[in-house]
Subunit: 189 residues, 2 copies
């Protein structure tokens, strides 16, 4: 399956954001006949790393994905080839790219749910949200990132932090929701 050659293609894509043409692979691989490339590519298509529609080559999701492991139980991760799952982060995290943006978090008001200063949250623009959602909102003209709550009965909506040091925020005049947090990411080091 020439995993080595596939890695060459992967790093070419990483660098150039496109697949190499057959002639380019020719020199990348050090071969001298386009047909060898043709046959190798055919295998990758069969294996599901690449695909072709009307003779235009493109990667598949699998091409970009990292293996996803899981623990069977406290003890052993599933490493077996057949149990591997693959996940492409971009696709996993961003469902609606047109309406999404990122926000760098500051403050520790959401520390209780594991959102810390410096984390990046993925926010999807929308003006409605459900109780429990983490929302980017404007409360009485002041921007903030908090958890949305609703009073029992036909209650008002208000905002709470996930940190006992911050009191709940009840809007004096209006509470305008701007987007909801779909994911958090944090990089170490």
């Amino acid at each position: 399956m020439r995993e080595d050659l596939l890695n060459i293609v992967k790093s070419f894509f990483r660098k150039n954001k496109r697949l190499p043409s057959y002639s380019e692979m020719l020199s990348l691989f050090g071969f001298s006949s386009k047909n060898s490339v043709f046959k190798i590519v055919r295998n990758w298509i069969k294996a599901g790393f690449l695909k072709k529609e009307n003779s235009k080559l493109a990667p598949t999701t699998k091409f970009f994905s990292l293996p996803l492991l899981g623990f069977v139980r406290a003890g052993f991760p599933i490493l077996a080839e057949e149990n591997k799952n693959y996940l492409s982060l971009d696709e996993y995290l961003i469902e609606n790219p047109e309406a999404s943006f990122l926000l760098k978090v500051n403050g520790d008001s959401l520390a209780g749910i594991g959102i810390f200063e410096g984390d990046i949250v993925i926010i999807e623009r929308k003006t409605n949200a459900s109780p429990g959602d983490v929302v980017l909102a404007q409360i009485d003209k002041e921007w903030t990132l908090k958890i949305l709550r609703k009073e029992r009965g036909f209650g008002r909506t208000f905002l709470v932090a996930a940190n006992p040091r911050y009191p709940p925020l009840y809007p004096r005049f209006e509470l305008q929701i701007y987007g909801v947090v779909k994911a958090v990411i944090r990089k170490f080091n």
Copy 2:
């Protein structure tokens, strides 16, 4: 700048994992001369969304990126066009794709540093790590995800949780580091 047409191209790329050819853009845009496409693409290249090397078209990082906002201070997010930053998640999160894999977390032993059950961590394969790193390790043949610590002086290395309910783990025989956690991601809902 025809942002609308660029969005068509973006969603084409999202779906097909490649850029459309000029003829394909022709029908995507509803134009009837390849030259109009040529000129539009030329503008996108000038604007930094696409690039070209020896007449092969490819996206740039900016093409994939989401706008990254930040709070100036408690109060207002930077929304101004000129202050926008862009970030491509895949590139940001995975520095070394060949050596990286994902692991679904279970247990709450790292809850103190905001790593919860169900989160996904990005692990980079390596056998050495520094104290303070979150590591995937085998301690006396048992796999675990913990924080690496080193005793003062010329001390032994051992593992600790980020949760008072779990005691530190000193290896009886050996502590084998398998990789270090570079990032965490958590999806809501």
